[in-house]
Subunit: 166 residues, 2 copies
DNA sequence: CATAACCTTTACGTAAACGGTAAGGTTTGG
DNA sequence: CCAAACCTTACCGTTTACGTAAAGGTTATG
């Protein structure tokens, strides 16, 4: 449908985007994106000759992840920075992992990565549980309200249209 | 066990607490509690003769709810204020609900309360879903890492103790 | 090649959510 | 009754996560 075949160069998905386009794509503002860069959460894939920031697809993913951790998990930028630092080192160690054959080294790298992801996993899990508990609570109250309302409507119907009576 | 029978006055649970005790009990700071009051999120059940704030059990619950909405749901103090305002009017309308026999009025009150709780329900639900998605993602990655690690350990064991070979 | 629409860095401004401190009043145990 | 420990209001300070504006360079388009 919309797949206009990329004839000349970039397949629309591996084009490099400028900051405003990225902002629209991710729902962030240019200012926020620059701020995240300032805080070390990501670096644009490239810079134009005139020093424009240029972002690739993985940058977009990264930004979406940041937004998720910020809005959904409610983490601070500093915390996200910590996590993504591990993410960054993840990239580096991924290369190292492929490079080495030494099983001891491989195990060390994996353990390191595992520890960091276990941390995130635990945090999200705890948050999820508490949020779920709150949600259940609200849902229960909603249910009771629905019941009350149904009863009221029933009563209302009986009152306005005496129907079967008499 | 610890149920020393309340002989004289307050049954330990309906005692009025001062702000510092409340802080310890809820994990908030006195400053935050005063701040929430300032923002209209709650008023202490009473004041001492010397104007000390005095909190009862329902205040504690309220504060715990506030903390939950803040930390777990990640809502702003302003948003929580909005919700609790509805909650406040809920108390008022609850009385009105008991007072009136007019089914039309009862229905109106219930609909109003339902609308407000539906709002909160929807917000929490959406947040929960997104958080769940993130969590699943992380969990999947954790799983892959575990597998990789297991493989590495396997390899390690085979290398260090050639066992069955030879 | 002009010019509109971007972008850059730098820097100051701001709202939210408290923290900290001062100056003074209150409670309570001894 | 008095000192220690708590509380009050008032006010200024701080951090976070950006918003906004200035002064100027860059890119796409006719």
């Amino acid at each position: 449908m919309t797949t206009a075949l990329p004839r000349t160069q970039a397949s629309a998905s591996d084009r490099l985007l400028r900051i405003q386009e990225v902002a629209e794509e991710t729902g962030l503002t240019p200012r926020s994106i620059r701020y995240y860069e300032e805080r070390g959460l990501l670096r644009p894939a490239a810079r134009s000759e005139g020093a424009y920031r240029l972002y690739d697809a993985s940058d977009l993913e990264q930004l979406r992840l940041i937004k998720g951790l910020r809005d959904d998990a409610g983490l601070s930028i500093a915390d996200i920075g910590q996590i993504l630092e591990d993410e960054e080192s993840r990239r580096r160690t991924r290369a190292a992992l492929k490079a080495t054959d030494d099983p001891v080294e491989r195990r060390r790298i994996l353990l390191e990565r595992l520890a960091s992801i276990e941390g995130l996993h635990g945090r999200l899990n705890a948050k999820l549980a508490r949020l779920q508990a709150m949600f259940d609570d609200v849902e229960a109250r909603r249910g009771r309200l629905h019941d009350l309302l149904a009863a009221a409507e029933q009563e209302l119907a009986a009152a306005t249209e005496p129907g079967s009576d008499r």
